[in-house]
């Protein structure tokens, strides 16, 4: 029983790793790589909001920090991407800690916290768009120089496997957190902050730790995005799209669960992509934005019929002693 959950992560990892062996088209490979990056960003959100109940609307702040740090460390400081990657993740963690310290110390909760995180992301987007160091509105381009030492791969599957390694690492980390004292405290903070304090939980420290870990995971997603597309502008790095993707995926998939972000990202992007292709075939022209309509429909459906997300639909069929009326 104890091994079952670790084993399930291993099985999922093996299946995902085998994908590119069957799906060899460029389109499919691009799609699963992108979905992996979104999953990683969403897993970051899941730790802070799904487990900790602190709903961020501004995870773009962390995604963009990771993405821009990854790009600028290479372009401006000439750092090797393999060194830039951990540095950029650490910078993302620092930004997370600072935003957490400013908001949680001010005792911001619920929708106030959500609005302030949104504001941080927007401020970073505007500053990035204005500063010449970040390339301004023109964005920043990473010179193409293919080579494993330069984290630019001839074989596109290599980047996918790198992304997958991070996704699996995030799954393992989330599972470990969920089973730890820190995880129990995090959930206690989500459920009832005063009761948690009375039981000796330092709620501020727990929330700061959570937002730091959360920001690091989402920053890692930003780093990988940079390496995949080799181009960034403020709207991509700090735009609201990633804040929304990072929170929609766990909500649809099942927030506060280990696999929720993965399932949700797969479902959202899968349906979005399928509807794009379908509509293009039916009407003969592209229908930009149709995936956003699909996202909206999926969100409404999941809120109405599966408030625990897709993972919540699976759970009742398991024979667990927890089952019963809820």
């Amino acid at each position: 029983m104890r091994w079952a959950s670790w084993l399930s992560i291993g099985v999922v990892a093996a299946v995902l790793a085998a994908f590119p062996l069957f799906m060899t088209s460029n389109l499919a490979l691009n799609f699963i790589t992108f979905a992996g990056i979104i999953t990683l960003a969403a897993q970051g959100w899941n730790i802070l909001a799904g487990y900790g109940g602190q709903f961020s609307f501004g995870h773009a702040a962390f995604f963009g920090t990771g993405a821009y740090a990854m790009a600028l460390l290479q372009v401006r400081l000439g750092l090797n991407p393999w060194l830039a990657l951990p540095a950029a993740i650490a910078i993302g963690g620092v930004v997370g800690f600072v935003i957490g310290a400013l908001t949680f110390r001010a005792r911001l909760r619920g929708s106030y916290f959500a609005l302030v995180t949104l504001a941080f992301a927007e401020v970073l987007r505007i500053l990035t768009n204005a500063s010449s160091f970040t390339g301004g509105a023109a964005g920043v381009l990473i010179p193409l120089r293919v080579g494993i030492d330069n984290m630019q791969f001839q074989d596109k599957r290599a980047l996918y496997w790198l992304v997958l390694a991070f996704v699996v690492g995030a799954l393992l980390l989330t599972h470990a957190i969920a089973r730890s004292r820190f995880g129990a405290y995090l959930v206690a903070v989500r459920e009832n902050e005063d009761a948690a304090r009375a039981l000796g939980v330092d709620t501020l420290a727990v929330k700061l730790k959570a937002i730091t870990v959360s920001a690091m995971l989402t920053a890692a997603a930003g780093c990988l995005y940079t390496q995949k597309f080799l181009y960034l502008d403020a709207g991509i790095g700090f735009g609201p799209w990633i804040s929304i993707d990072a929170l929609l995926a766990p909500i649809v998939g099942g927030r506060g669960t280990v696999f929720g972000p993965l399932v949700g990202a797969g479902a959202l992007l899968g349906f979005g992509e399928a509807s794009k292709i379908l509509l293009a075939n039916l009407t003969g022209g592209a229908a930009p934005g149709i995936d956003l309509v699909v996202f909206g429909v999926l969100l409404i459906l999941s809120v109405a019929f599966a408030p625990q997300g897709l993972m919540g639909l699976v759970r009742p069929f398991r024979s667990s002693p927890k089952g019963g009326t809820q």
Partner: protein, 252 residues
């Protein structure tokens, strides 16, 4: 007489223009069960909030084991050994009973297995063992009261503040809970309880402080306090003690 584990010194707490507690001072002897009673609105729950650290006193100080803890945050006091139950129960509704209690147990036991073992032990003590894997949201009112008690106990406190854990229990449930509280005391935990169930207060407490309109108006053993004219007046209204005496005289 052992040294007091808790000393409340001239605590005043005002909310805007309302003075909930007025310069109240009292001690709790180590190892005792001490009662804090008084009519509704007397400031008992405010007093608990000040002792546990949820509210800072406007004036005065709280001393625990000889040190001033007035400036310490709630979780620091919990780590020192002050635990409390809430009058309005505050379960972690999305978690199971076991997980709820384990949050308390994690304070002294870092390992998940140990914390869950301790949770099961405490659950057995308060009579929640059959409900361990139920969701806390499925518990009855009595079950939630027990859960409050279990979670606080799981932090292995030295001083336990019980805010009306017996309220709303029927007589048979009372008969179960009173020995539980006595067993907690016998294991070495000092208990300070706010309670309206007088039968339980009288049988459990060695010492009682009576709070009325924010002030301590009487203190002493249960039998002394229950005969105190000011206490009777506080509960039954002005002149009640006199009328009772007259009625008693007429009977005799």
């Amino acid at each position: 007489m052992t040294a007091p584990i808790l000393k409340v010194l001239a605590v005043t707490k005002t909310f805007g223009g309302l003075m909930a507690v007025k310069a109240a001072s009292f001690d709790v002897a180590e190892g005792s069960i001490t009662g804090l009673i008084g009519p509704n609105g007397a400031g008992k729950t405010t007093m608990f909030a000040v002792i546990a650290g949820f509210e800072a006193p406007t004036k005065g100080s709280v001393h625990y084991q000889g040190t001033d803890v007035t400036g310490l945050d709630v979780h620091r006091r919990a780590a020192l050994g002050i635990a409390q139950t809430f009058q309005i129960v505050q379960p972690f509704a999305g978690l199971t009973v076991r997980e709820n209690i384990a949050v308390g147990a994690y304070l002294r036991h870092r390992e998940r297995e140990r914390a869950h073992e301790e949770a099961a032990k405490v659950a057995a003590l308060v009579g929640l063992a059959p409900a361990l894997d139920q969701s806390a949201s499925e518990l009855t009112v009595v079950g939630r009261k027990r859960l409050e008690l279990a979670r606080a106990l799981a932090t292995e406190p030295k001083l336990l503040l019980l805010d009306e854990v017996l309220a709303g229990l029927n007589p048979s449930e009372l008969r179960h809970m009173v020995p539980v509280i006595r067993a907690i005391q016998e294991s070495g935990v000092t208990i300070l309880m706010v309670e309206h169930v007088m039968q339980a207060v009288m049988s459990l407490c060695q010492h009682i402080h009576v709070l009325a309109e924010g002030q301590i108006i009487a203190r002493g053993s249960p039998s002394t306090v229950s005969r105190d004219a000011r206490v009777i007046e506080a509960y039954l209204g002005h002149g009640a003690a006199q009328r009772l005496k007259v009625a008693g005289g007429a009977d005799a």
